[in-house]
Every structure is written in C-alpha cells, then in structure tokens.
C-alpha cells in the first residue's frame, strides 16, 4: 500500500470520526455562524441604542437660576428658534428633499453645503432644566452626572444684529452622554446661527457667497477603520486557532486516552503516515473553520448592512479580496494545526492537553493582540512576527488597504517556514516511543541531556526549528542594527550585521547541536573533499558571479527595477567604496561565505539528507536561503545561487567547496561593484547593450561554469557510493 493511499485512508476515517463529534461541529459551524451576527448586532445595537437614547432623551441642562429665571428663558428662546427651523425643514424625510426646502427660504441661492447636509432632518430637541446657584455648582452637577451639560448665557440671548451672544457650555468629554449633549447643543446653536445668517443676508439681498467665500470639501482617505474593523482580524485569526485546538487534542491526546493509539500502532502503518493523515485533518478543519468564519463575517456585513462598522469612507469589505484572505489563512491554519498537534502529542489525556494548550494560546495572543492595536503597521519586524503578521495582513486586506507583493510574500513565506518546522516537530513528538507509551514523563526525555543519544547529524526537526527561530531573530537584529544609527552610519550597521552573522548562523546552531549531542563535524558537513571538487569549486567561483550579474541585468531589463531597489543598490555601492578592500573581502566575502554555507548547506541541507529527496532538499534549502535575504528583487538570483551551492554541497558531501564558490562569488561581485576601475581589464558593457557584458565574456564564463559543474559532478561517484547504502 502506498504512502498516499494510507494517508488517504487515515484522513478519511479521522475526518468522519471528528465530524461526527458534536463538539467539533459546534466549534466549527455553530459558533462562527452565530458569533459574528451576535457580535455585530450587539455592538451596533449598543451604539444605536446609545445614540438614540441620547438623541431622544431630554438633555438635562444645569444653569443659573430657577426654571423661570432669565437663564432658563434664554435657553427656552434658543429652543424656540430651533423648533421654528425644524418646522420649516422637512421633518425626518430623506435628504433629497432638503434642497427644495432651502430654495423656499432662499430663492436662487443654495445654502452652504455644510448646513444643507446637516439640515436634512434636524432631530427634535428636548431640554430639562436643573437650577443651580453658581457656576461652581453647575460644574459640580456635570461632574457628578446629575446634569449632562452646563449652559451659561453670559449676557442673555438676543438676536439684535449689533450683539454677539456669548454662551459657555460645560461638559465632560469622557462621559459619552455629556459629550453627545454638548455636540447636540453646538449643533443646535450652529443651525440657529446659520438660519439667522440666511435671514439677514436675504434682508440685505446679498448672495450666499457674501459670507461664505470658501467651500471646502475634505475627504478623509486614511484607512484606520472603526473598532470592529480593527478587532475583526484578531477574532478571525483566533477563531482559526480555536478551530484547530479541539481536533488536535481529540486526534492525539484523545486517541491515547481512549486507548486506541496502541491498536493503531500495532497496525502495519508508519507513524509518519499516521501523523500526516491526522495533521491534514486538523488543518482541513481549521481551514474549513476559517472559511466559515470569513463567510459568516462577510454575510453578516453584507446582509446586515454593517459596512460602516468595518471600514471608513463607505468602502466596506473588498469582496474581491476574500479569496486572497482565505489563501493567506491557509498557511496560518496549517501552522497553528501543527503547533497544536505538537503540543497535544505530549499529553496523555484530554485534560492534560487542555493545560498545555492554554499557554500556547496566551503566547499567540501577545503578538496577535499587539498587531491588533490600531497603531501597529504591517511593515518592518511585524512582517515576520508569527500570528502578528497574519492579523495585520488580514486587517489590511479586509479594510481594502493596498498590500505590496513583497509584504504579502514575506508574510506567507515566513508563515510557511514556521509551519513546516511545526509539522516536523509534531511528527517527531508523536512518533517518539517515550511519548507514545508515556509511562515516564515524556517532555523530560526530549530535554534531559542525560537521556539523549548522540547522533552523527542533526535531525530534520532540529534543523527546521533552529531555522524557524533564527529567521525572525535575524530579521529583528538587522532592522534593529539599521535603526540604531542614522544613514550617516550605514557602514557601522553593515559592520555590525556581518559581525552578528557568525553568532546567529554558526554559534546558535552549534550550541543547539552540541546540547543534543550531535557530532559537530557532521552537523556542519565539515568533511574533506576530493581534488576534483576543489578544482571545480574554484572554476565555479570564477565564473558564477558573471552568470549571476547577467541574470540580474536581464531581470532589470525585462521586469524593471523599482526606484527603491535602484536607490538602495546605489547606496550600497557608495557604502562599499568607503570600506577598505581588506574589510570588504572579510565582511562581504568571507563571513557570509562561511556562515551561510554552515547554516543553509551544512546544518539545514545536511539534516535533509536522510529522508528527503535530493531535488526537494536542494530546492527547499535554497528557498530558505533566498528568504533569509529579505529582498524581493533578489529572490530569484539568490534562490538559484542557493540551489547551485546546495547541489555542490550535496554532491561533494562537504560544505567546504561551497564555501570557496560562495567566497569567490561574493568577493568578486562586491569588488567589481565597489572598484570598477580594477576590472578595467574586462571588456566593459557597450553602449546600448543595457549593461550586459560583451557576449565573449559571458560565453567564456558559461564555459568555465560548465567545466566547474562537470568537475564537481565527476567528484561525486566515490562519495555518493556511501549514501546509496
């Protein structure tokens, strides 16, 4: 029976098994279907109830003197004027009738746009008076909330043209009712003032433009959305996680608790098939859950007419982006499923698993919650923060903000990297004898050094986890180093970056490997290589930079180069010229050659030697290598370079020839960029050749490159004889 058939069998059974469970169904279908409508209706109702209550309920005004005193009378006068306006305006009718009403009072002249808008249907005003003896008492009333606002007419209220009415309003901005009452009063006063203006202007037969020389229409283009728009992505992401939790527990700890795990392990099925089948089920349910959640959100927004709650400027949910959002949630669901499965595999019982899951959820909430803050943006470090980047990406897509390809790719690729590490851990944990038949504490056997057996090579799990941790760490470190000093000190950042590289790329994996008793020579592929391999490496090193350079030029000519990329390339070139050649060779040649080969070829590719096919292994390690460079435009070239170096390492079974190639490649390329004059012996690109080197040079480089490949390929048989066994 093939792997695929077994996995399919397991997948089918586990899916049926889980879907028959009421708890899965509730978590997956019932909750999302009801959560969002309830959530949105609830918050909408809270808002409308509040505003309606405030709009219709009488505003309690604290003022000086009794209800029949002069101050109360002034307020009553104001209300009388307002009610008069309301009587003239069409009451509570659609906005389209407003112009007719205004033309009646101002023939030929449209009132100011602002007034027209807000004059559509002036709401009724109800006031009630709270008598106070002094301004202090009024303040006290507002503070202790026995009145909504305090109003003081400094000189009563008159409408004679030579007097200005000075009105003081006291309110508490932190108190919603008080704030609304204040806004309403301001509105009432503005309407009355506008009406009086109109009347006076008409009396003088002046055009409307006489008093309003400006008409300003400001459109707010900022994307910050309403509260729900901010929270929704977090909820969506959390629901995706929640979707994975129950199946992950049921399928691992639950299976052990019910005593079926032993049965299944007595069947002729490799553990990896089992875990893959189960993992796919968890991921399926998480993705289904995510899709249902998303669908429910959209349906609620669409049918409920809640667009304004999601985004400002009446844009609403970009329905066209839904597929993209779902696509982004898939690697995320995969990641969370794998994490949950890895965690739950350690547990013997349902309860224990729930205990393990809780801290994981908390750990997830921290970056997720941070990302949900309105001020957090999808850039810089946030691009690679697990969970956080997904919350942000979902938010941007949901509110229809533009998301760049490179941001999108960074989020997706980093999530995919984390996901594969988590899957590897899950497989490892689940298959562990001490975990399956956990009679002793299983966590300990993974971390207690006395219980660890020495091994000649890092396991795939270890390599993936180290890489997955290094990736954001390296990203943070770089952005931190670059931000600590200004551009003036770009050199300093460069020096620090490359000084940090040996620590991150070599020391960290070496420590991890040493702790788990992995042979360091094996871990980094430090074996010797044949003479042919060395010679081939030198040939490749001599020529690969020309090939790479031509590819970059080709890419720029065909796909263009963004100004940003061109600028940063130019800046880098200037920077390089400031370095002494020796430093340049060490910083940009030697250090990356040694460190990157050690990590990507020695540690990562080496770990894939057992169990992963050659092409897959080389492609995967090259992809990780490329992603670690963070620059989208360089992705294709670094990938190909990584693939070539991976092939060299795989074939020669040592990273050392690759170090030579990498060193020569980097050194010549940077020197040729920084000190063009040294390379004047080479024929230069001709005019109109779009920066391509002359064909002769390129062809000889290709010839040398091919010769190098042949030499290295020939160095293989002796070495690969061992790997076949």
């Amino acid at each position: 029976m093939t792997f695929r058939r077994r996995v399919r069998t397991i997948y089918g059974k586990e899916l049926v098994d889980l879907l028959r469970d009421r708890r899965t169904l509730i978590a997956m279908i019932v909750v999302p279907i009801f959560l969002y409508p309830v959530l949105m209706l609830g918050s909408l109702q809270a808002i409308t109830v509040q505003t309606q209550a405030l709009g219709q309920r009488a505003i309690i005004v604290a003022g000086l003197g009794g209800a029949d005193g002069p101050q109360a009378e002034s307020l009553a006068h104001l209300q009388y004027e307002y009610d008069r306006i309301r009587a003239l305006e069409p009451s509570a009718t659609p906005a389209s009738k407003a112009p007719a009403a205004s033309s009646e009072s101002a023939p030929g002249d449209a009132p100011a746009a602002e007034v027209e808008d807000s004059a559509a249907s002036p709401p009724p005003l109800q006031l009630s008076w709270t008598p106070c003896a002094s301004v202090e008492e009024i303040e006290q009333c507002v503070r202790d909330r026995s009145a909504h606002v305090g109003v003081v007419f400094e000189e009563g209220l008159t409408f004679s043209p030579d007097r200005r009415n000075r009105i003081r309003i006291l309110y508490d901005r932190e108190e919603p009712r008080s704030a609304t009452a204040h806004a309403r009063l301001e509105d009432v006063i503005a309407r009355v003032a506008a009406r009086i203006n109109d009347e006076r202007r008409e009396a003088l037969r002046l055009p409307a433009t006489y008093f309003d020389p400006f008409e300003v229409t400001a459109t707010n283009l900022a994307s910050p959305s309403s509260i729900l728009g901010q929270i929704l992505p977090l909820i969506l992401v959390l629901m995706t996680i929640t979707g994975a939790i129950y199946p992950a527990i049921d399928i691992t700890a639950g299976e052990r608790e019910r005593g079926t795990l032993e049965t299944i392990l007595a069947c002729p099925v490799p553990v990896i098939d089992l875990i893959v089948g189960k993992f796919l089920v968890v991921a399926t349910i998480a993705i289904l859950g995510a899709a249902l959640n998303l669908g429910s959100v959209c349906a609620t927004v669409y049918f409920g007419g809640f667009n304004e709650l999601i985004a400002t400027a009446g844009q609403g949910i970009p329905y066209g982006q839904l597929a993209l959002i779902l696509l982004c949630l898939i690697p995320f669901a995969v990641l969370m499923s794998a994490i949950m499965m890895a965690v739950c595999s350690y547990a013997r019982t349902f309860k224990e698993a729930q205990n393990y899951v809780t801290p994981v959820i908390l750990a997830v909430l921290i970056p997720g919650g941070f990302a949900a803050l309105p001020a957090t943006e999808l850039r810089g470090m946030m691009l690679v923060v697990p969970v956080g980047n997904m919350v942000l990406l979902t938010r941007e897509l949901l509110i229809g903000a533009p998301v760049g390809t490179s941001e999108l790719l960074t989020v997706l690729l980093s999530t995919t990297l984390y996901a594969s590490a988590a899957v590897a851990v899950a497989a490892k944990v689940f298959g562990k004898e001490s975990v399956v038949f956990a009679d002793v504490e299983s966590l300990r056997s993974t971390f207690d050094r006395r219980l660890i057996q020495p091994s000649p090579r890092p396991s795939l799990t270890m390599a993936l986890v180290v890489t997955a941790v290094l990736f954001p760490a390296w990203f943070f470190l770089q952005s931190w180093l670059q931000s600590t000093r200004g551009a003036e000190n770009g050199l300093g950042a460069l020096r620090r970056t490359f000084a940090a590289m040996p620590v991150m790329f070599v020391a960290v994996p070496a420590l991890v490997a040493a702790y788990w008793k992995v042979d360091l020579r094996g871990a980094f592929g430090l074996g010797g290589a044949s003479v042919r391999a060395w010679a081939g490496a030198v040939l490749l090193g001599m020529s690969s930079w020309i090939v790479a350079r031509e590819m970059v030029v080709f890419q720029h000519n065909w796909f263009g180069m963004s100004d940003l990329a061109a600028d940063s390339a130019a800046a880098l070139e200037r920077l390089l010229r400031d370095l002494s050649p020796v430093e340049l060779v060490i910083l940009l040649g030697l250090i990356p050659a040694v460190c990157e080969e050690a990590l990507f070829r020695g540690f990562l590719l080496g770990a894939m030697r057992s169990g992963v096919r050659k092409m897959t292994a080389i492609a995967a390690s090259a992809a990780v290598f490329a992603v670690f460079h963070f620059i989208l435009a360089k992705l294709p070239v670094t990938f190909l370079l990584g693939a070539m170096l991976g092939w060299v390492c795989w074939t020669t079974r040592s990273i050392l020839p690759g170090v030579i190639v990498h060193f020569m490649h980097n050194t010549i390329l940077t020197l040729s960029a920084a000190h063009r004059e040294w390379f004047s012996f080479l024929p230069q690109p001709q005019e109109g050749a779009q920066d391509h080197l002359p064909a002769g040079v390129v062809l000889s480089a290709i010839a040398i490159f091919t010769a190098g490949c042949v030499l290295i390929g020939r160095s293989a048989p002796k070495a690969t004889g061992g790997s076949a066994a």
Binding site: K13, R20, T260, E262, C267, V269, V436, F437, V440
Partner: protein
C-alpha cells in the same frame, strides 16, 4: 514462529537506565499457546510490545514469523493481531466502518476491505449492532468488535496482553472461547495474564518472568515437577519468592 534472543529493553529514568526486560530468550512453536506470567512490573507488556514491533529493543533480537522486529516492524505487524483488555474502539465509528478501516490499514483495497468486514460481521454474529456507533455498544459487544479487529487480516500470530482484565464473566468467556478456538485453528498465541486458572486451562507452555528475566519455562507438568507443587498459583508464589532472592544480591551488586 516466535524467537526471542537475549532481548533487552531499558528505559531512561532519572539517574540512569532501568532494565525492564533483561536478556530474555525463548521460542514459541507454530500453533502453540505460550503464556507469559509474572508479577506486576515484571516486563510482560514491554516484551509483548517489542515482539509486536511497537517499540525497539535496546539490544538483542527477536523474530516473528521470520521477520525481525527491529528492522522489519511492518512485516511483523502484518502477520500479527494485537489485543489487550484496555484496547479502545473508535467510539464514533460503527463496527462495520471500524473493521473496514483496519482492513484497509492492513493493505486491502476498499472492496476487499468491505467484503472482509462483512464476513467478520457475519462470522462473529454482529449483525444486529454492526451499524450502531461503537460508543453505544455493551462491553460484550465491544469485545466482539475487538476480536473482529484482531482477525481482520487473519494473522497467524496473536499477541494478547491481559486480554480479560476487568471483564465480566460473559465477556470473559467470549474471549477465552475465542483464544481456544484460535488455538485449535493452529494460530500461534502469545498471552500474558494474571489469571492463573486461565493460563492453566489455555496454555501449552508457560514462561515465568521476573524482573525482566525468564526464571522458569515449560509445560504445566514440567513446572509442577520442578517445584513439586500442583497448583499454578502455588508455583507462581514459590517462583516469585525464589526470583526475588536471586535478584537481591545481583541488585545490590549493580
């Protein structure tokens, strides 16, 4: 059919290794019912798990139907039925689905698996509850499903770890009948149990395990002759006492 040769399994424990099985060697011939007896913690379960290819021996080797348990665990599992009293069933599947699932896991394609499940349902008289979920079945019915699962690939070897632990008289009888019938059909059976009358009744030969070592082995008569006692329970107590004495100086030395 089953050959264990100097099998050792040690588990890492705080401060070193604990040998749960310590140099165990024995043979079981085809068609024989072999009983493993021993006090709690003697290493019976560990031995049976190693013989079923579920855990790897620390050293030594074992063969089951000619397959090496360490290097060919899948071949071993293919010719083996494994049953313990606390083996659970998938409670949300029906017996029919469950049998079909295990048949497929043993490499049958879907139609063949369906036919096999159908056959077992008939043969074990499970018609009336074959389409109910396992969760709603009685213990006796569940045991029948479990027997069906063990027989799904018609394995020549059965490994049973305390299969009757905690069962009532009726379910117990069901299992014992099944073992006897399987023995009559010529299956090789490895059985561990704490119920000595069961062992007395069923087993062709008995191995006595203590602290991971086999301290006595033979037919009931041989054991009776060796110890001069008639009842297996008396023999058991005597051997356990001897084993503890024998182990004490060795334990102090190590």
């Amino acid at each position: 059919m089953v050959v264990a040769d100097n099998l050792v399994k040690s588990f890492p424990v705080a401060g070193g290794q604990k040998r749960a099985v310590d140099g165990l060697s024995f043979r079981v011939a085809r068609g024989e019912i072999f009983g493993l007896l021993g006090p709690n913690g003697a290493g019976k379960t560990t031995t049976l798990r190693m013989l079923s290819g579920m855990i790897l021996p620390t050293s030594g080797s074992a063969r089951l139907a000619g397959y090496d348990v360490a290097t060919q665990p899948f071949e071993v599992k293919r010719v083996l039925g494994f049953l313990t009293a606390n083996t659970g069933l998938y409670l949300r599947l029906t017996p029919r689905e469950l049998l079909q699932y295990f048949a497929e896991l043993h490499g049958m394609d879907r139609p063949a698996a369906r036919r096999r499940a159908e056959h077992l349902v008939d043969w074990l008289d499970m018609r009336e509850f074959a389409d109910l979920r396992c969760g709603s079945l009685s213990t006796g019915q569940r045991q029948r499903v479990n027997i069906g699962r063990v027989l799904v690939a018609d394995p020549p070897v059965l490994v049973m770890d305390e299969p009757t632990l905690g069962l009532d008289v009726i379910s117990n009888r069901l299992i014992l009948d099944f073992i006897r019938r399987a023995g009559d059909e010529g299956k090789t059976i490895l059985l561990s149990t704490h119920y000595l009358d069961e062992a007395e009744m069923l087993c062709d030969r008995i191995g006595f395990l203590h602290h991971g070592r086999l301290i006595a082995e033979g037919t009931l008569e041989e054991l009776q002759r060796r110890t001069g006692l008639a009842r297996l329970s008396a023999i058991f107590l005597k051997l356990a006492a001897e084993g503890t004495e024998a182990a004490a100086p060795a334990g102090a030395g190590s």
